[in-house]
Subunit: 335 residues, 2 copies
């Protein structure tokens, strides 16, 4: 299995990206293709990785796509960027999965224009795995499509259920629709239509899920349009971060609190680990023809390593093929 990695994307590129890729190559049975500035990449390959050099390949590129430029233009024009070259490798079958911590917009554009949509999928979506109280859950769409149609939501549900089963090991994933009330008649026209499509599908649809319930993690596949999904994703992070910032400031404000804080350090640490998004890798771009993973912009080496593990599980779980078959079946029922 071969995973191609964009070494030039993200806040910590290329150093942490390359380190994470090397850690993955050492730990997993995988070949890694590193794309980016050759000199920068080579600098990170220390002695300890010399014995896995036969499973590494470096593709030198000269351009970098940044967060500030138009995603579509960047993908079209920067032919020698690490992202475009990496995605082309994937498209041409020279690799099985692609990982980037770079511009989300550019990755979406590249996924669509270079890798291409799965037949029958109208809109690919971004699907991160998020930690909750009773377990982790997927959130689809978390930001690829600010506006959606009910049939997109149904497709997100189908794709999320397959991923949840095959990669996260959930037997019969519970699918919920984000709504501002638990009752069927709540919400906008779009939500009501989406509800009906989900109800009539063969998904394990448990109905509306109120935002207050999301962090409990009892619903495995949480569905919404990409605007609301992105609000959920970012507010989730923001509230948790703010709470810990405040607690930390208070604890540091007096000696006695510092002692209390020291005693509870393992509790805070466990919490931080349990709620560490990087444990689950990145957000998969579901609905394109190959495994494409968007790692968090602030990814460190561990996050990249976990994204490689995630991509291996996706390929082994045959996720793309299963989505293709399921969407085809659904289309046949429709027509």
């Amino acid at each position: 299995m071969r995973v191609v990695i964009d070494c030039m994307g993200g806040d910590n590129a290329p150093s942490e990206i390359v380190k994470g890729a090397l850690m993955a190559a050492k730990e997993y049975d995988v070949e890694i293709i590193l794309v980016g500035d050759e000199e920068g990449i080579k600098k990170e390959i220390s002695e300890e990785f010399k014995n896995i050099m036969n499973r590494l390949q470096i593709i030198h590129t000269t351009e970098i796509i940044t967060n500030d430029e138009s995603p579509t233009l960047a993908i079209r024009r920067k032919k020698d960027s690490s992202m475009v070259v990496g995605l082309k490798y994937l498209k041409e079958g020279k690799a099985d999965a692609f990982i980037s911590a770079g511009s989300t917009g550019a990755l979406l554009a590249g996924g669509l224009f270079i890798v291409g949509r799965i037949d029958g999928i109208d809109r690919p979506c971004l699907a991160p795995v998020i930690p909750g109280e009773k377990g982790h859950f997927m959130l689809l769409d978390s930001g690829a499509n600010a506006e959606c149609k009910p049939k997109n939501i149904l497709q997100f549900g189908i794709m999320g259920s397959i991923y949840s089963k095959k990669v996260l090991g959930k037997e019969n994933p519970k699918v919920g629709l984000v709504n501002i009330g638990a009752e069927e008649e709540k919400g906008t026209e779009f939500i009501k239509q989406s509800f009906n499509m989900l109800k009539n599908s063969n998904l394990n649809f448990i109905g509306n899920i109120e935002p207050r319930e999301i962090p409990k993690g009892e619903c495995d596949v949480v569905l919404s349009d990409g605007f609301v999904g992105n609000v959920i994703l970012k507010l989730y992070e923001g509230v948790a971060q703010t709470i810990f910032d405040i607690l930390k400031r208070e604890i540091y404000s007096s000696l006695i609190y510092k002692i209390g804080g020291a005693i509870l350090k393992p509790v805070f640490k466990k919490f931080k680990k349990d709620f560490d998004y990087t444990e689950y890798g990145g957000a998969i771009l579901l609905g394109v023809n190959k495994v494409v993973i968007k790692a968090h912009g602030s990814s460190n080496a561990k996050a990249i390593k976990n994204a490689v593990r995630q991509s291996i599980n996706c390929v082994k779980g045959n996720v793309i093929e299963l989505i293709r078959e399921e969407i085809k079946k659904n289309k046949e029922v429709d027509s």
Copy 2:
């Protein structure tokens, strides 16, 4: 000043509602009209409140509007419900403000059909005050209108700014639009149009606000449609609650952690107090002709007392009249 209180709405009615109303009558210079089951209300009036009886009035009603019934039908049919009778008192000028912890939907319907909209306001909205790291902020609309138009958002901004100035004491309230990116060109068509209207208004518009930034409390007036606003409100509560549930469970899991927890008790307590929504009263229904306040369904006596204080500040701050004037001015500019 007279405040009329629906004693039959909310999880803790009538006991906590009446208690809170009595506490307010004792503390503030206000007359209180208690509407609901007379016997149930009287039971709560203990000796300590006998000396304020001259500032209390009880209106006996026989019906209760529940959360399970159709709001509009309930308002139309249950003529002798505590909510309808209370709102009519308000409408007829027998009171200056109305508070209820009952059905949000029914209160919205009652606000519209009984109290009526302010001239020029297309959609009233629910506007709670939410605690943030650096200060509290308003969120409009937090659930009255699942679907909105850009001009509704502008009106929410005008109303929120006035309330923020007059009741929360913010000199030049910063107004932000919830969006999934800080840049002007981000988001849906609705968001882009709303952005333009806000930019061209005389509000202190600071641009898009990303959900991650909301809990910091640097933006005083946070604007969104009621669907997204309700998601924000409920997820905010949900994430905070989940984090504290997990920490509590962990702390109780061992003796040494319990000791650490005991040392940090004042820290947790301060946090809880700072983030206690009841400190700020309830969510005001902005855009109707009088002061109407929706207290949280789980309100205790303190929350009701604070909602009375909030309603007094609203009336004293002349919020409704100022909104009426500002909307009129805006309309004249438009035409």
